[in-house]
C-alpha cells in the first residue's frame, strides 16, 4: 500500500470523486442486478487497495462482477482461469532459455497488470495458489534471483466456488488473510432475476461499459479515505470486536493485526463513500461481513455459517461502547 509516486490531486476534489464512485456503483448495478451491497463492498475493497475474493456457487455472476469492475475502473486487466494443472510459472512468468542469444529471458506472466482476475482460484494446487498469494502480498515477484515489481495499483479479484466442491483445494487461512475482503453474491432477488431474464445478455452489456474512474483517481480516493478521522471511541469498538474474536471459544482463531488494520481502512473507505468526515460504528459494522468472515474459523466445524451470519453473531456479541 505504499505510494511511491505522489498522486496529482489537482482537479480531483473528493466530493466529485465520491460522485464518480456512485456512478460506478450505479453502472455496475445495471449489469449485476440487485446486488448493490456487494458492489459497494467490492469498491470499498478496491479503494482501500486490497484484494478481493468473491465466493459463491457457480453462475451467480462472480466473473461478471469482476469484469464489470475492471472495466469501470479502466485498469489494465488480465484474466487467469485456474485449473489443477496450472503451475506458478503460468502466472508469474518464467525465464526461458533462448537458443539464439544463449541466455535466459524473463517472460512476464499475466500477473503483470493492474487488475488480475483469477477465476476459480481454488482449483489450482496449493503450490500455485501460494505463488499467487505471495505476489499479492509482496506486490513484487522474484524469479531466478531478480526482483520485479508489479504495476501500481495492483489488485487481484479472485473468484472461487465454495470449498466443499469436488476437486478443489480450499485456500488455507493464512492465505485467505491476504484478501482484504471476501464477498458473496447470493441468488438474485425475484425482481432482479426477472430483469435478468428480460434484459440483454450480460456479456454484451459488458462490452458497452466505459471506464469511469482512473487509476490516479482511485489512488486519490484511497488517500482521502485514509485521511478520514478515526476517533478513540471507534478504535475502542474496533478493538473490542477484534478482541472478542481472539478470545471467544466460538472461533478457532482470532483476527490478525492485518485484519484489524483492514477493518480500519475499509471502514474509512466506507465512511468516505457515505459522505461522512468521520468513521462511525455503522461504517465499521458495514464492512465487517466482508473483512471478517473469511478470516474466522468457527469452532464447531459442523455449522458452516454464512459470512453474514458470522458477522451478525460477532456484531451482536460486542456492544457498541
Amino acid at each position: 500500500m505504499s505510494n511511491e509516486q505522489p498522486i496529482p490531486i489537482r482537479e480531483l476534489s473528493v466530493p466529485s470523486l465520491v460522485r464518480k464512485v456512485s456512478a460506478v456503483i450505479a453502472a455496475a448495478n445495471r449489469i449485476i442486478l440487485g446486488k448493490e451491497a456487494p458492489i459497494r463492498l467490492a469498491l470499498v475493497c478496491l479503494i482501500t487497495g486490497g484484494h478481493l475474493l468473491i465466493e459463491d456457487i457457480p453462475g451467480v455472476g462472480k466473473t461478471t462482477l469482476a469484469h464489470t469492475l475492471a472495466r469501470l475502473l479502466g485498469l489494465s486487466f488480465q484474466r487467469i482461469q485456474f485449473t489443477s494443472d496450472l503451475l506458478p510459472a503460468d502466472i508469474i512468468g518464467a525465464s526461458i532459455y533462448e537458443r539464439q542469444s544463449g541466455e535466459f529471458r524473463f517472460h512476464a506472466g499475466p500477473i503483470f497488470s493492474n487488475l488480475v482476475l483469477t477465476d476459480e482460484v481454488n482449483r489450482a494446487t496449493p503450490k500455485t495458489q501460494s505463488a499467487l498469494l505471495e505476489a499479492m502480498e509482496e506486490r513484487q515477484i522474484t524469479v531466478d534471483g531478480t526482483t520485479r515489481p508489479l504495476p501500481q495499483p495492483f489488485f487481484v479479484i479472485a473468484t472461487q466456488n465454495p470449498a466443499h466442491q469436488v476437486g478443489t483445494y480450499p485456500l488455507p487461512e493464512s492465505q485467505l488473510d491476504r484478501f482484504l475482503m471476501r464477498i458473496g453474491l447470493g441468488y438474485p432477488g425475484e425482481q432482479a432475476e426477472r430483469g435478468l431474464l428480460k434484459g440483454r445478455d450480460r456479456r454484451e452489456l459488458l462490452h458497452d461499459v466505459q471506464p469511469i474512474l482512473s487509476a490516479p483517481e482511485l489512488m486519490a480516493l484511497r488517500n482521502a479515505a485514509f485521511g478520514l478521522q478515526v476517533s478513540d471511541a471507534l478504535l475502542d469498538y474496533l478493538q473490542a470486536l477484534v478482541r472478542y474474536t481472539r478470545e471467544s471459544p466460538r472461533y478457532e482463531n482470532g483476527l490478525s493485526p492485518r485484519a484489524t488494520l483492514a477493518l480500519k481502512h475499509a471502514s474509512q473507505a466506507w465512511a468516505l463513500l457515505m459522505g461522512r468526515n468521520a468513521v462511525i460504528p455503522e461504517d465499521l459494522q458495514a464492512v465487517v461481513p466482508g473483512v471478517v468472515a473469511h478470516r474466522l474459523r468457527l469452532k464447531s466445524t459442523h455449522e458452516s455459517s454464512t459470512a453474514s451470519a458470522i458477522a451478525k453473531e460477532l456484531l451482536e456479541a460486542v456492544p457498541v461502547p
Partner: protein, 657 residues
C-alpha cells in the same frame, strides 16, 4: 498472570516473608528492651541473626532437638529471671523467645502468620509498661510496618516494593481508624482486672509504699514522675495548705514505720470550718488501695472508704489511671476523743532503742507544762540547732538511727525529721503518728491543673492534743520553711537540685508546662477513658448505662453504621471511572428512549438506532436527528459543543407524544 512453579516460588515467598516478619518484630519488640531482661533481647537478636545467616549464608537451621532444647531453655531462663510466668515482663520475654524460635522452623504462610500474630501481641504488651505519648507515637509506624508485613506474609510478591506495601497498609489502616475510635468509645468497659495480676507487674510503678524507712521518701524525691494531677473548682488553697494525705503510719520497729494494726477506733468527732475545696484528681497508678486527697477529705467518691485515719481507701489497687472528685477542708480537727486502745497504739515504741532521744523527750515532758509545749520544744530544737535538709542523708538504717540523726549527723530528709519527731513525742507520752503523702504541687498555667510529682513526696507528723484532737505538725518546715512554701528545689542546697528541675530556665519551664498539659489531656481523655468516663459519655448521649440490652443494641448499630460508612467510602473510591459527559448525555438520551419503549440494542450504532426510532416514532424525528448528529460529531468526529448536546438531551421528552 503467572502460573505457580512450586518449589522456587515458595522459597522466594518465604524469603520475603522472613524479611518482613523480622522487620515487624524488631519494631514491635524494641520498646521491650527497656523492660525485659537484657539476656532475652540478646538471645532474640542472636537467634534472629542466625536465621538471617541461614537465609543468606546457608547456615544450617536448628534441628528439632536443638529447637526443643532452646525452647525449654527459654522457659527455664524466664522462670529463673522472674520466678513466675505470670506478669508482663515474663510473658513478653517468653513471647519474644518463642517467636524467634518459631522462625527457625517456619515453613510457610501459616507459620509466618503465627509469628506475626505473636509480634502484635508483643506490641500490645508494650503498652502494659507505659502508655505515654512517645510510646504511642513510636507504635504508629511500628503497627504500620506490621500490617505491611502481614500483607507480605499473606501475599509475598518479590516485585512489590516496600513503598507499595506501605501504601496498601495505609489504605487498609486509614478506614480502620473510625472503626477503632467507635469501638474504643462504645465497647463496654469493665472495671477491675479479670484475673489476679502478679506483683511483678507493678515493678514499673514508682510511688509511695505503705511504710516509711530512712531513704524511702528521699529516693522518691529523685523522680519527677507525676503522681497525680488536681483540678480545683474555684479558688485553690494556698501552697502551704497543700498537704496531700495518703497514709498514716502507726507502728515503728526501730527503723521503719508501717501502718501496723488497722485502727478500729471510730468515735468520729470531726469539726470543720472555713470554705470547702472541691477538686478532681487524676491519679496515676500507685498500686495501692489508697487514693490521695487534700488534708482533710470529707466528701469522697462512691466506692471508696474513709478510714478513721482519714485515709481514702478503695477496694481495688489502683493500677490504671483513676479519676475522682473529693471535697476537703483545710481547716479541721478530728479525733478529739481518743480511746485507751488507740492511745496505747499511738504511744507504741520499740524497747531499748535510741536511749538518748528517749532521755531528751522525757526531759522535755518533765519540764514543759503541756504537751503543746513539748511540741514547741521539739520544733525549736530542729529550728535552732544546725539541722540540715538534704536529699542525700547518711545511711541511718542501723539500730539507734534516730539517736544518730538527732545528735550526730543532723542532716536528713523529711522522713528523718518526721520519724524523729514522732519518736520524741511518743517518748514524751504524747500520742503521735507519721503521715505520708505529698506536699505542694505546681500549677500549670496552660490548663490550670496542679501537677504533683513524686519529688513532692513528703512525710509529716500528727500529734494528739487534748481538746484539739489530731494536729498536723511538719518538723521539716521547722528546719527549712522553704520546703513547704516554695517546694523542693528551693529547699535543697543548690548542688543537690536534681537535673530534671527545669524551673531555672523560663523557656524550659514553658516547654515543660506545655508537655505536661499535652500529657494531661492525653491522660484525661485517652488513657483515663474507662468505665467512669464511658458512663459519663453514655449519660450525655441519653443512654442508660445499666441497660445492657439497649447498650449492646446501640453498640451494634453504631459500629455497624461506621463500618457501612467506611465500606461505602471505599466503594466510592473504587467504582468504575466516570464516562465523559458526552457519553453520559447520550446514555441519558438512550435511557429516555428506553422508558418510552424503544431501548437501544447493545450492538446498535447511533445512526441505526436513530433510524429505528424515527421509523417507530416519526414525531421525534427532528430531535433525534439533531441529537444523533451532534453526538456523532462529538464522539466520533471529536468536534462540536458538548453543552449543546446536554441541552438537547435535557429538553428531549420522548414520553409525551
Amino acid at each position: 498472570m503467572n502460573a505457580m512453579s512450586p518449589p522456587e516460588l515458595e522459597a522466594q515467598q518465604n524469603h520475603t516473608r522472613l524479611l518482613w516478619v523480622l522487620a515487624a518484630m524488631a519494631a514491635m519488640a524494641l520498646p521491650q528492651a527497656l523492660h525485659v531482661a537484657p539476656w532475652v533481647m540478646l538471645a532474640a537478636l542472636l537467634i534472629s541473626l542466625w536465621r538471617l545467616a541461614v537465609e543468606f549464608q546457608g547456615w544450617p537451621l536448628f534441628g528439632g532437638p536443638t529447637r526443643i532444647a532452646f525452647g525449654l531453655l527459654a522457659f527455664v531462663g524466664v522462670f529463673a529471671t522472674y520466678h513466675t510466668f505470670n506478669g508482663v515482663e515474663a510473658g513478653s520475654s517468653l513471647l519474644i523467645l518463642l517467636a524467634v524460635l518459631k522462625l527457625m522452623e517456619a515453613r510457610g504462610l501459616r507459620d509466618y502468620f503465627f509469628v506475626l500474630a505473636i509480634t502484635l501481641v508483643i506490641g500490645i504488651a508494650n503498652f502494659l509498661y507505659d502508655q505515654t505519648i512517645p510510646l504511642a507515637i513510636y507504635m504508629i509506624p511500628a503497627v504500620w510496618l506490621a500490617i505491611a508485613a502481614l500483607l507480605n506474609i499473606a501475599h509475598p510478591d518479590v516485585t512489590r516494593s516496600v513503598m507499595t506495601s506501605i501504601r496498601v497498609a495505609t489504605r487498609l489502616l486509614l478506614p480502620a481508624l473510625p472503626v477503632a475510635v467507635a469501638l474504643f468509645l462504645l465497647f463496654p468497659r469493665m472495671p477491675g482486672p479479670l484475673w489476679g495480676l502478679s506483683t511483678a507487674d507493678q515493678t514499673g510503678i514508682t510511688g509511695l509504699s505503705p511504710k516509711m524507712s530512712p531513704d524511702s521518701i528521699s529516693r522518691l524525691a529523685r523522680s519527677d514522675a507525676i503522681a497525680f494531677r488536681v483540678q480545683f473548682d474555684g479558688q485553690p488553697p494556698t501552697r502551704s495548705q497543700l498537704y496531700w494525705r495518703a497514709m498514716v503510719l502507726h507502728h515503728f520497729d526501730g527503723s521503719t514505720w508501717t501502718r501496723g494494726i488497722e485502727p478500729i477506733d471510730n468515735n468520729e468527732t470531726l469539726t470543720t470550718s472555713g470554705e470547702p475545696f472541691r477538686y478532681r484528681i487524676t491519679l496515676e497508678p500507685n498500686d495501692l488501695h489508697v487514693l490521695y486527697a487534700l488534708d482533710l477529705p470529707v466528701q469522697v467518691p462512691a466506692n471508696t472508704l474513709l478510714s478513721s485515719d482519714y485515709e481514702l481507701t478503695t477496694p481495688h489497687r489502683v493500677r490504671e489511671r483513676k479519676l475522682y472528685s473529693v471535697t476537703s477542708y483545710t481547716d479541721y480537727s478530728y479525733g478529739a476523743g481518743l480511746s485507751p486502745t488507740m492511745r496505747r497504739l499511738e504511744l507504741q515504741l520499740p524497747r531499748n532503742v535510741d536511749p538518748r532521744a528517749r532521755q531528751l523527750a522525757q526531759q522535755w515532758a518533765g519540764s514543759a507544762g503541756s504537751p503543746a509545749q513539748v511540741v514547741q520544744d521539739a520544733l525549736r530544737m530542729f529550728h535552732s540547732q544546725p539541722f540540715h535538709y538534704t536529699l542525700h542523708p547518711d545511711a541511718l538504717s542501723g539500730p539507734d538511727g534516730i539517736d544518730i540523726f538527732l545528735f550526730d549527723t543532723r542532716s536528713g530528709f523529711c522522713e528523718h525529721y518526721a520519724s524523729a519527731f514522732v519518736f520524741l513525742m511518743r517518748a514524751a507520752g504524747i500520742p503521735a503518728h507519721v503521715v505520708i503523702g505529698y506536699q505542694g504541687g505546681l500549677r500549670n498555667p496552660l490548663d490550670g491543673y496542679y501537677v504533683i510529682r513524686q519529688e513532692d513526696a513528703h512525710a509529716w507528723a500528727e500529734v494528739w492534743l487534748a481538746n484539739r484532737g489530731w494536729v498536723r505538725v511538719d518538723p521539716t518546715a521547722a528546719v527549712d520553711p522553704a520546703r513547704v512554701d516554695d517546694g523542693l528545689s528551693a529547699a535543697l542546697p543548690a548542688n543537690e537540685v536534681p537535673g530534671y528541675v527545669f524551673d531555672t530556665h523560663p523557656w524550659l519551664a514553658d516547654l515543660r508546662n506545655t508537655w505536661d498539659a499535652v500529657n494531661n489531656g492525653w491522660n484525661q481523655w485517652v488513657l483515663a477513658y474507662g468505665p467512669e468516663l464511658q458512663q459519663r459519655l453514655f449519660s450525655h448521649l441519653g443512654l442508660d448505662y445499666s441497660n445492657w440490652l439497649e447498650l449492646a443494641l446501640v453498640l451494634l448499630v453504631v459500629i455497624g453504621g461506621v463500618l457501612a460508612l467506611v465500606w461505602l467510602l471505599m466503594w466510592w473510591r473504587e467504582r468504575k471511572p466516570p464516562a465523559s459527559s458526552v457519553v453520559r448525555d447520550y446514555l441519558r438520551y438512550c435511557h429516555k428512549l428506553t422508558q418510552a419503549g424503544l431501548p437501544r440494542r447493545p450492538s446498535e450504532g447511533p445512526l441505526n438506532y436513530a433510524k429505528r426510532v424515527i421509523r417507530k416514532r416519526p414525531d421525534l424525528s427532528e430531535h433525534v436527528k439533531k441529537i444523533t448528529t451532534l453526538y456523532i460529531d462529538l464522539r466520533y468526529g471529536e468536534s462540536g459543543n458538548p453543552e449543546e448536546l446536554s441541552r438537547l438531551v435535557r429538553d428531549f421528552r420522548p414520553q409525551h407524544s
